[in-house]
């Protein structure tokens, strides 16, 4: 499946949900927020929310800032 993640095109195989995608990328679920095609997905929905070919996904986390 081809996804656009944080502006980069990524080929990920064998994934169905946001949880699968995060696992495949090696990203810790606890510290991120996710947006799919402009829609914010709550952490509780990571398992149930499917991802589809060509979805545009943003995965963000907290960093230092003022």
């Amino acid at each position: 499946m081809r996804l656009i993640i944080n502006g980069e095109t990524r080929e990920l195989e064998g994934i169905e949900s946001i949880k699968d995608m995060l696992d495949s990328l090696g990203v810790d679920h606890q510290t991120v927020a996710v947006m799919v095609n402009g829609e914010i997905i709550g952490r509780a929905d990571f398992v149930s929310r499917p991802v589809q070919d060509h979805d545009a996904i943003e995965i963000v986390r907290f960093v230092g800032g003022g």
């Binding site: 944080n6 990328l25 810790d28 927020a33 952490r43 986390r61 230092g64 003022g66």
Partner: protein, 257 residues
């Protein structure tokens, strides 16, 4: 510390808010936060680096008793800021947000129109909104009416260390708004922080002045004491200024006179 800082339903026993940007390392930041005595630190929201997804989370370096205040730094439009605020809320750390929408990149000066618009929407969506704004008293009234939970005028441009250029603005704000007034941006040294507090600010937000000090932990402690001293000075009520001297020692009973 005298009194508490109340922002919406959140209570803080320190009037110093600390930013988490620009530290040489997460460890140095953690130590400085500890020394500052703060109970609230700002953080930014950025894309995960997909080439290094396992890097340690900033949140692991923030003490348990310290609450997180996500900012919308870097946003230039209402839509961008709303998106970042909503994403931060989705990350599950509460309803606090520091709203910051920039209208001039060189000065990092807030865009007053977009800021007011976003404040209204975020308040309606249930956020606890702390608004970074210009030192404009009329805008402050509008932000207050829009339901902002704290109003944060800049002292001088972000990261400039120029101090509070218009100290009177703090009093103008205090006379016109019902929520805490927190001086955000420009504080460069303990005297700046103390002056802001002594003038009546309910709190100050400091990042660069601590992070870029030669010894961030020591500066964090200095800022803690400066904020406390300034606040106590404000509550104590300073003496009136006079044009001429007034002797502190008795003028009667001088020897040989």
């Amino acid at each position: 510390m005298s009194g508490v800082l109340q922002v919406g339903s959140y209570t803080f026993h320190s009037r110093l808010i600390v930013g988490t940007g620009k530290y040489a390392s997460n460890e140095i930041m953690r130590e400085a936060i500890g020394e500052s005595g703060t109970e609230l630190v700002t953080v930014a929201l950025r894309r995960v680096n997909l080439n290094n997804p396992g890097e340690p989370s900033l949140l692991d370096f923030i003490p348990d008793n310290v609450r997180i205040l996500p900012n919308t730094a870097g946003c230039h439009t209402t839509e961008e800021a709303l998106n970042v605020a909503r994403l931060a809320k989705a990350a599950g750390i509460g309803t606090l947000v520091k709203l910051e929408i920039i209208g001039d990149q060189d000065l990092l000066w807030p865009d007053p129109v977009a800021t007011l618009e976003a404040t209204k929407i975020l308040v309606q969506e249930g956020f606890t909104v702390m608004v970074y704004t210009t030192p404009d008293p009329v805008l402050a009234k509008y932000l207050d009416q829009a339901g902002a939970h704290a109003i944060m005028p800049l002292g001088s441009p972000i990261g400039s260390g120029q101090g509070v250029l218009d100290v009177e603005a703090i009093q103008r704000f205090k006379h016109r708004v019902s929520v805490p007034v927190i001086v955000d941006a420009g504080i460069g040294s303990p005297q700046d922080a103390s002056l802001a507090m002594e003038t009546g600010a309910d709190g100050v937000l400091i990042n660069t002045a601590i992070a870029h000090a030669k010894d961030p932990s020591l500066m964090a402690r200095a800022m803690k004491l400066a904020v406390e001293a300034g606040r106590l000075g404000f509550e104590a009520g300073r003496m009136p200024k006079r044009q001429q001297a007034e002797a502190s020692s008795p003028t009667a009973g001088m020897v040989g006179r």
